[in-house]
């Protein structure tokens, strides 16, 4: 891998009360790279993403984006640095309209023309968001909300997108569609840090992957390596 990674996480620790949920996780994501985090429920995958994007407080460690320490910034400054997060449970503002949710992804952007162009692109990728733009987002189905979450995160034009379980509870064709879009987005240069239960999909998309177990990195490798690993196949691919 080249010299300076886009995201560099060092020895990240998170406590929930007395429980140590992350016990020193380190990982790197290079510009334009796709890294997947896989592991069982409760292994600390979502916690890792939430600590990086400051939805929860890390107790120790360092998170650098382009060398800048993110843990010292107020959470609302991160998106301007090029970091977007489509959180677990999707984080859709159910009271607001679909269009308002999408617009909030670009809340900080002042380039109206660019925002309009991006909105049109999201409407092309996910036509349902155009059809439903004036409806409350709470009326969308789960899959549609997931599309909205991904589209909204992309509206900030991130360099790094954190995705938490984009396939959770979705019909296979919706999963295919979302992963298709993610592949396209990555091809356009956006780095992805992806948490997935659906290890198969994740490992096929990812350049590299990490397996988390009880708050620690248990294994690392390229996507194909982990797909071929007997332990991973047994534990996460249901074989």
């Amino acid at each position: 891998m080249s010299a300076a990674p886009l995201l560099e996480v060092r020895d990240l620790r998170v406590h929930y009360g007395a429980i140590e949920a992350l016990r020193g996780v380190s990982l790197e994501v290079a510009a334009g790279e796709v890294v997947a985090l896989i592991g069982a429920n409760g292994a600390g995958k979502s916690t890792t993403l939430r600590a990086i994007s400051r939805m929860i407080r890390a107790t120790a460690g360092s998170v650098r984006l382009d060398g800048e320490e993110l843990l010292r910034l107020p959470p609302h400054r991160l998106v301007a640095r090029g970091l977007a997060h489509a959180p677990e449970g999707r984080g859709i503002f159910l009271d607001l309209s679909v269009g308002e949710n999408l617009a909030l992804g670009a809340w900080l952007r002042r380039d109206r023309a660019g925002v309009a162009a991006d909105r049109a692109r999201m409407h092309d990728l996910f036509p349902i968001l155009a059809e439903r733009r004036d409806q409350p987002a709470g009326t969308l189905s789960g899959g549609e909300q997931q599309m909205l979450a991904v589209a909204r995160a992309l509206m900030s034009r991130p360099r790094l997108l954190l995705l938490d379980e984009p396939s959770l509870g979705l019909a296979p064709q919706v999963v295919e569609r979302i992963f298709g879009v993610l592949r396209e987005v990555n091809r356009a240069g956006v780095a992805l840090l992806l948490v997935e239960q659906n290890a198969h999909q994740a490992l096929r998309l990812a350049h590299r992957a990490l397996v988390l177990e009880t708050g620690e990195v248990a294994m690392r490798g390229t996507g194909p390596e982990l797909l071929a690993s007997p332990e991973v196949r047994r534990a996460y691919l249901g074989e």
Partner: protein, 322 residues
């Protein structure tokens, strides 16, 4: 017109006049609850401070009326009234910012009860601070002390009788200003960047921060907005009912809180409807039964709402889709 109809219409006029006041105060409760999930029990006292700000401003702007100077004319008086109202709104907006910054923000992320107790502390501080004797050397007699003051007449009063229903220009202006403020607020909440951010923070502050929304600044802005509306309500109320004193925000504050709960705490349209409904209910019950029941109405409504519809009229149970 038949006497009974005249009586009913009269009650409706009076009820609307009081109801708009409750609605304007209730908006402050509901907006702050929306973004912080905190009942700002000092809000009724912000309303009180609004009335006193208007009182002092009017004392500077309209000082010489008693000395025999000619009245300023309707245009001049209207301008003065508008300046007094806007000035009081500005003072209360600053007060709201200060309360948020120094009383509530340091407690963000702590147990909710801590903030609630602090709210009561701020309320007592304002109520009893305003009852202290005036400080020497200030250009105005501040604090006002416990003796009631009379709010100056900002506009000459005109009374009309429409088929037996008596109506004053104060009722009409009060209603018009209140409606204009509520329409304005509606536009702010649903049509501006700030309003969208406020609704986003209200739904989920953590996700709002992910969007780049400066959550603390939005919360501060919400306090300023709600406090300014309380000040407007105080002026609209003090013009027709001019007796003001440091504890007079207590009861309207509690009633407006009930109005906010009735409408569904956190809901902006709910606060408006709740305020009007409560004003009308009070007036009708007082008019047709005994006026001594008037203050009990609000609390009866509170108990009934909490028993049978805790989410209020416009409250929505939130269902997350999986």
């Amino acid at each position: 017109m038949p006497a009974r109809l005249v009586e009913l219409l009269q009650h409706l006029v009076n009820g609307l006049s009081v109801g708009t006041i409750y609605a304007l105060i209730a908006l402050g409760y509901t907006m702050v609850y929306g973004v912080l999930k905190l009942i700002n029990f000092a809000h009724g006292d912000v309303y009180m401070v609004g009335a006193f700000s208007g009182y002092y401003l009017a004392g500077r702007l309209v000082p010489e009326r008693a000395a025999g100077a000619p009245p300023p004319g309707l245009a001049g008086a209207t301008l003065q009234a508008a300046l007094v109202t806007l000035g009081a709104m500005a003072v209360c907006a600053l007060l709201g910012l200060a309360i948020e910054r120094f009383a509530y923000r340091p407690l963000r992320g702590r147990a909710r009860l801590t903030s609630l107790i602090t709210a009561i502390g701020v309320s007592l501080l304002l109520e009893y601070g305003f009852q202290l004797q005036p400080i020497r050397g200030l250009p105005v007699a501040f604090p006002p002390g416990p003796t009631p003051r009379f709010f100056p007449e900002l506009l000459p009063r005109a009374d009309w009788s429409l088929g037996g229903v008596s109506l004053s220009n104060y009722d009409v202006i009060g209603l018009a200003v209140a409606v204009a403020l509520m329409i304005g607020l509606q536009l702010v909440v649903y049509r501006t960047r700030f309003g969208t951010a406020m609704r986003a923070v209200s739904f989920d502050p953590k996700v709002a921060a992910l969007m780049g929304i400066p959550v603390d600044r939005i919360i501060a802005g919400t306090f300023a907005l709600g406090s300014a509306l309380a000040a407007a309500a105080a002026i609209l109320n003090a013009v027709p009912r001019p007796q003001i004193h440091p504890l007079f925000g207590l009861l309207p504050g509690l009633k407006a809180f009930v109005a906010a709960v009735l409408g569904g705490i956190g809901s902006v349209p709910g606060a408006m409807v709740g305020g009007l409904a409560l004003g009308l209910a009070e007036e009708l019950v007082a008019g047709y039964t005994a006026s001594s029941f008037k203050d009990a109405i609000a609390f009866t409504v509170l108990i009934l709402v909490l028993l049978f519809r805790p989410d209020g009229l416009f409250g929505r149970a939130r269902v997350e889709k999986v």
